[in-house]
Amino acid sequence: GAGVSQSPRYKVAKRGQDVALRCDPISGHVSLFWYQQALGQGPEFLTYFQNEAQLDKSGLPSDRFFAERPEGSVSTLKIQRTQQEDSAVYLCASSLAGGRDTQYFGPGTRLTVL
């Protein structure tokens, strides 16, 4: 079956622009996660959904970052007024039911803010 997909794969934004990154999880997966991976670093947790409920957003770096999953399937990560330090790969992962279930990652969206 299809894995986690993300779009766009690459996004270039001018500083101050708003961007929206999309994640399509594996069908039937209840849990969805967003991570940010800076160059040369490991992924860092941003936020977590169980169905449509955002249960943890402790990793969002500022109030410019907003994530939603209104119907418990597709999720969008929105970054308002982008800054250069937002340049990173944004990874989405999904798992069947959370807990210790394996998190399956998408290929990521590489965001470059000029």
Partner: protein, 112 residues
């Protein structure tokens, strides 16, 4: 502060030999550990995991060892194959908190 550390940015191993990747952590509350493998332009893929109640878990060519007193885990790959060339991330989970904490990664290169 970095709670999960992989101190070797890169490792080069001869094909057929053993690859040993190391990871240290600082938070004694971590109770579940994982290794992920990442190829360029792809997302990380799960390799193997271990619960803190065990000290070893084996899956084919991959074995993970956990030393809780030293807050150290390692991944052994034997025999190493060219397809194992990738970046390896160690990650830890905090009592089912649902958010993995990753190390910085180690780039493994298997030479023919």
């Amino acid at each position: 502060d970095q709670q999960v550390k992989q101190n070797s940015p890169s490792l080069s191993v001869q094909e057929g030999r053993i690859s040993i990747l190391n990871c240290d952590y600082t938070n004694s509350m971590f109770d579940y550990f994982l290794w992920y493998k990442k190829y360029p332009a792809e997302g990380p893929t799960f390799l193997i995991s271990i619960s803190s109640i065990k000290d070893k878990n084996e899956d084919g060519r991959f074995t993970v060892f956990l030393n809780k007193s030293a807050k150290h885990l390692s991944l052994h790959i034997v025999p190493s194959q060219p397809g194992d060339s990738a970046v390896y991330f160690c990650a830890a989970d905090l009592q089912g908190a649902q958010k993995l904490v990753f190390g910085q990664g180690t780039r493994l290169t298997i030479n023919p």
